[in-house]
């Protein structure tokens, strides 16, 4: 009975933690309190344009998973609280609305929704553009700022950039009052703009970089330490937190964080790691342990190529080794028939039991293609038979050597065939 109660408390705690990790607002909420962050810069910029009734534009650049969109969301949330009637937000995504007609339609739709107007699906693109310009003027006269959030900004810069031009051009007039916030993971997104667009763009850029080790440690603590008022038994919370602080001060944990950040230091990667660790929480004891962190790290550090090399049958390994031998002979290109020739010559020379008919070998060859360990060398010749299309290896000789060494069922001959020609 006690154990069941403990388990239910633990699963409650797990649910709380998972909810936190999946909520970008909570993840980045620590930024609110600290000065001189991108959050405060963006907030100052947008807030001053709203209060001074001027036009502005800014680009948020940085790799994926660094919290650009989350910062925008937080700023918008704050501004909506401070100026409830003075802003309206239009959100576009480059993946969905990179087409100009589609984008103007979407802007018109959102403007209508925002101002309780009825939106006509049948309106033409020209009507919509006109409507947008009218709305910009009207809003400017009413001292209401329209915020355009353009996610995946680089995709809007494809093609004629008519949308960007008409938006930024409309903002040149004194009557309008709008802010364009572009979000992109391409650091050269502003270089993609045409001259006429670039000259109308205020070259304000906020750069987002992956966080440092100290910041990450602070983030992990912020995410995992349970607050007193989270609705769980007070004793559980103190126990949980004290165990967690012990883990955090452990040298091993610092090592885990280091190796994690060596690979990828973005916030999303940290979140993914923590999510796994929390999911691996030991339900019997109900606390996070070092094992869960270690397990989460090892699951993030898998090498898919090596894994699928371990899954190969002996015949498939033979074919890979044959291909590797052909490559070592500096044959410029080869196909299945030349692989079979090599395979036959090996089988004739060593008289192994692994001599199979060519249809069986071809099936193994197709398995390798399926696993994407090999691929066809060219995209031409679609009508040519598969046996004659040139192929290439997609693995390095080091990977192949390692997998042969790790494979316990691999015949010694195969190892020898692989090694022999390396030293010759």
């Amino acid at each position: 009975m006690v154990a069941a109660a403990a388990a239910s408390v633990a699963s409650q705690a797990q649910a709380v933690l998972r909810g936190r990790l999946c909520d970008p607002g909570f993840v980045h909420s620590a930024l609110r309190s600290s000065p001189d962050t991108n959050y405060s810069k963006l907030k100052y910029l947008v807030a001053s344009s709203v209060s001074e009734a001027c036009n502005n534009s800014v680009l948020l650049l940085g790799p994926r998973g660094c919290g650009k969109a989350a910062v925008v969301d937080m700023v918008l949330e704050d501004l909506k609280k401070e100026h409830p009637d003075a802003i309206s937000v239009i959100r576009l995504n480059g993946m969905l609305h990179s087409d100009d007609n589609c984008a103007t339609k979407e802007i018109a739709r959102q403007l209508c929704l925002e101002h309780q107007l009825s939106f006509s699906k049948m309106a033409s693109s020209d009507d919509n553009t006109e409507f947008i310009i009218d709305m910009l003027r009207e809003c400017g006269l009413a001292h209401k700022t329209i915020l355009f959030i353009l996610e995946e900004f680089d995709l809007f810069a494809q093609g004629k950039q008519r949308l960007l031009y008409s938006l930024l051009d409309a903002m040149q007039s004194l009557t309008s009052q709008a802010v364009v916030i572009g979000v992109s993971c391409r650091l050269d997104a502003d270089q993609l703009l045409e001259k006429r667009v670039r000259s109308r763009f205020s070259h304000r850029k906020l750069l987002f970089v992956p966080s440092s080790l100290e910041d990450t440690q602070r983030l992990v603590e912020h995410l995992l330490i349970l607050a007193k008022d989270s609705g769980l038994p007070a004793k559980y919370i103190t126990d949980y937190n004290s165990r967690l602080t012990n883990i955090f001060s452990d040298k091993k944990f610092k090592g885990i964080l280091n190796s994690l950040m060596d690979a990828d230091a973005t916030t999303s990667n940290i979140l993914r790691f923590l999510f796994r660790a929390v999911s691996y929480m030991d339900m019997e004891s109900g606390f996070l342990s070092m094992e869960s962190f270690l397990k989460a790290l090892s699951s993030l550090q898998r090498q898919p190529k090596m894994d699928s090399l371990q899954d190969l049958s002996i015949l498939e390994l033979y074919i890979l080794v044959c291909m590797h031998r052909l490559e070592d002979k500096e044959q410029s290109s080869y196909n299945f028939t030349s692989i079979m020739k090599e395979y036959r010559s090996i089988q004739d020379a060593y008289k192994t039991s692994d001599k199979y008919a060519s249809t069986v070998c071809f099936r193994a060859f197709e398995h390798l293609l399926d696993r994407e360990l090999i691929s066809f060398g060219d995209n031409r010749g679609r009508n040519q038979a598969l046996e004659y299309r040139p192929v290439k290896l997609l693995i390095s000789s080091r990977e192949l050597a390692q997998s042969l060494k790790l494979n316990t069922t691999c015949p010694a001959l195969l190892q020898k065939l692989f090694d022999r020609e390396r030293y010759m």
Binding site: S11, Q14, A15, R18, G19, L21, C22, D23, R64, G65, A69, N93, M95, L96, H97, E106, S268, N269, L271, R272, F275, R276, S279, Y280, S299, P304, K305, D307, S308, Q310, D311, L312, S313, I314, L315, Q331, S333, Y334, N335, T337, S338, K341, D354, Y356, A357, S358, T359, V360, F362, R363, A364, H367, D370, E372, N383, Q384, A385, E387, Y388, P390
Partner: protein, 522 residues
């Protein structure tokens, strides 16, 4: 209310139908033997949590680690996207669909889209939206326009999901066979859209699950701000395969002794359970042949006897990828109990007396046409005159070979080129010329079978020509020959033979044509 999810492959095909995504009665007949290897899980509707997890692990042999990972990562509801990857026939879809039935709290809504059976973005959008729209209004929604633009789709999907999430329900969206999208037209865009749905929807109660046989490296450049968590499904080990195959077998002892003989050699060739199952089934029938009683538990002496019985069959099975059921069994065939066209065929033991040869249901002239196409593809056109001289090919051929011998180096590169280029193409005229030559060489063989009036030299020429053209198109349709693009200079269509030398030799033997004399070897 809950979406019925069957853990069988049938769900994949039925999910493609827009009207009713999972009607078991309709999809049952489509089930493949591959899934029948694994007995369907027992019904476990009203059981408690602990035992239901045990049932899950029981239903997924060899997938303990993956199943427990799935249960932990899928529920409770706010969860990061998940990517299941691993080779074909490793139980990804099955494990996922079974786990979705076992997680607590039970998911109220699961939308499953197998991209292999939804060949266009529009079909995908339609399938997902119809699975998410509430049942009573399904008739109304079918009249609605299916969105074909991604922006309309995401808006519609968000509307549908927001309604469900407002009721506090967790919704699982499953995208199966993700790897096929890459080869679609504009597949990259659709794939990016699917992988970034988490960013686009911004609904924490929606859990996205992707299933792919391609490794995660294929998707790195397309993911949004949140990369999915990965679960790797490795191929089964030999012990796991044995467990899977024995499960649900009527006589496990006998089958185990059979597997101890047959599985290890076959496992060296392929590790896929579906292929192993298909190869082992006919072998087991052979294995049981000497036994009178299939229920008997074999002892050591019987095992040894059965082993000796199966040994030659095993060697044959290792070299086959599939076996074709014969119309007449081999024994009948040997007794001479064959009629009709089979008179021209002989049982020719190439590798093994046990090997069952393919029967060619093909007219003799089609066989000759096939052979001449093979020769036209393999031999250089310049040698045709020497090979098919009216004075008899073989003598000339030998002389020609000697004169064409070049230096070893030259020869090697020629062979290499030949291997790389594959069979050559030829115009129709050349094919017909060779056809005439080789039919005239073995005239006697033809005269036995073919009607004399159509084969008369001179008078029946036009009849023969039209007949041959008909045969040619038949051969093209059955993919023995392929029509390649026309030559830019001549403007006429060129052909290429797709058959390999083994098959050509078999065909030649069936009409007793000395093919090897005519093949030009360097």
């Amino acid at each position: 209310m809950s979406q019925p999810v069957t853990p069988r492959r049938t769900t994949r095909s039925s999910a493609g139908s827009v009207s009713d995504p999972a009607s078991p009665s309709k999809s049952r007949p489509k089930s493949t033997p591959r899934r029948q290897l694994i007995p369907a899980a027992a019904k476990e509707e009203g059981e408690d949590e602990r035992s239901s997890i045990n049932v899950l692990l029981e239903a997924l042999p060899g997938r303990r680690a993956q199943a427990s990972d799935l249960l932990r990562l899928l529920a409770p509801a706010p969860a990061l996207p998940l990517l299941l990857y691993g080779g074909a026939a490793t139980g990804k879809t099955r494990a996922l669909l079974l786990a979705l039935r076992h997680i607590r709290p039970r998911p109220q809504r699961v939308a499953y889209a197998a991209l292999r059976s939804l060949p266009s973005p529009r079909a995908l959008f339609a399938s997902l939206l119809s699975q998410l729209s509430p049942p009573p209004s399904s008739s109304a929604s079918s009249r609605q326009r299916v969105p074909d633009k991604p922006s309309d789709f995401v808006a519609a999907l968000r509307d549908a999901l927001a309604g469900l999430c407002a009721q506090g329900e967790a919704v699982y969206l499953v995208f199966d066979n993700l790897e096929v999208v890459r080869s679609w037209e504009k597949g990259g865009q659709l794939l990016a859209l699917i992988l970034r749905l988490h960013d686009l929807l911004r609904l924490p109660q929606v859990v996205l699950v992707y299933v792919s046989s391609a490794t995660p490296d294929a998707y790195y450049s397309m993911t949004g701000s949140v990369e999915p968590n990965h679960i790797y499904f490795p191929d089964y080990t030999v012990d796991e395969v044995r467990d899977i195959l024995i499960r649900g077998h009527p006589n496990p002892k006998l089958y185990a002794s059979f597997l101890s003989v047959a599985l290890t050699p076959l496992f060296r060739v392929t590790r896929r359970v579906d292929e192993l199952g298909a190869a082992l089934e006919p072998l087991f029938r052979r294995y049981c042949e000497p036994l009178g009683d299939l229920e008997a538990v074999p002892d050591e002496s019987i095992k040894r006897r059965l082993f000796e019985h199966i040994q030659p069959h095993l060697a044959v099975a290792l070299n086959e990828t599939f076996s074709v059921p014969m119309r007449a069994s081999v024994d009948q065939f040997k007794d001479g109990n064959s009629g009709g066209k089979a008179s021209t065929k002989r049982q020719f033991g190439s590798r093994d007396s046990l090997s069952t040869e393919l029967e060619f249901h093909m007219s003799v002239s089609a066989k000759y046409l096939l052979l001449s196409a093979f020769l036209a593809s393999r031999n250089p056109a310049t040698l045709d005159a020497a090979l098919f001289d009216s004075t008899g090919g073989s003598d000339n051929h030998r002389r020609k070979r000697k004169s064409s011998q070049a230096s070893m180096n030259m020869k090697d590169t020629m062979v290499e080129e030949m291997l790389m280029k594959g069979p050559g193409t030829f115009p129709l005229e050349r094919l017909l010329a060779i056809f005439q030559c080789i039919t005239s060489v073995s005239e006697d063989a033809l005269n036995d079978v073919e009607c004399p009036d159509s084969m008369m030299n001179g008078s029946g020429m036009t009849g023969l020509m039209s007949d041959v053209l008909l045969q040619l198109s038949t051969l093209c349709n059955s993919n023995f020959l392929s029509k390649s693009r026309s030559c830019p200079l001549e403007g006429s269509a060129r052909y290429r033979s797709n058959i390999d030398e083994d098959l050509a030799l078999k065909v030649a033997r069936s009409v007793s044509f000395p093919l090897s004399k005519y093949i030009y070897r360097r």
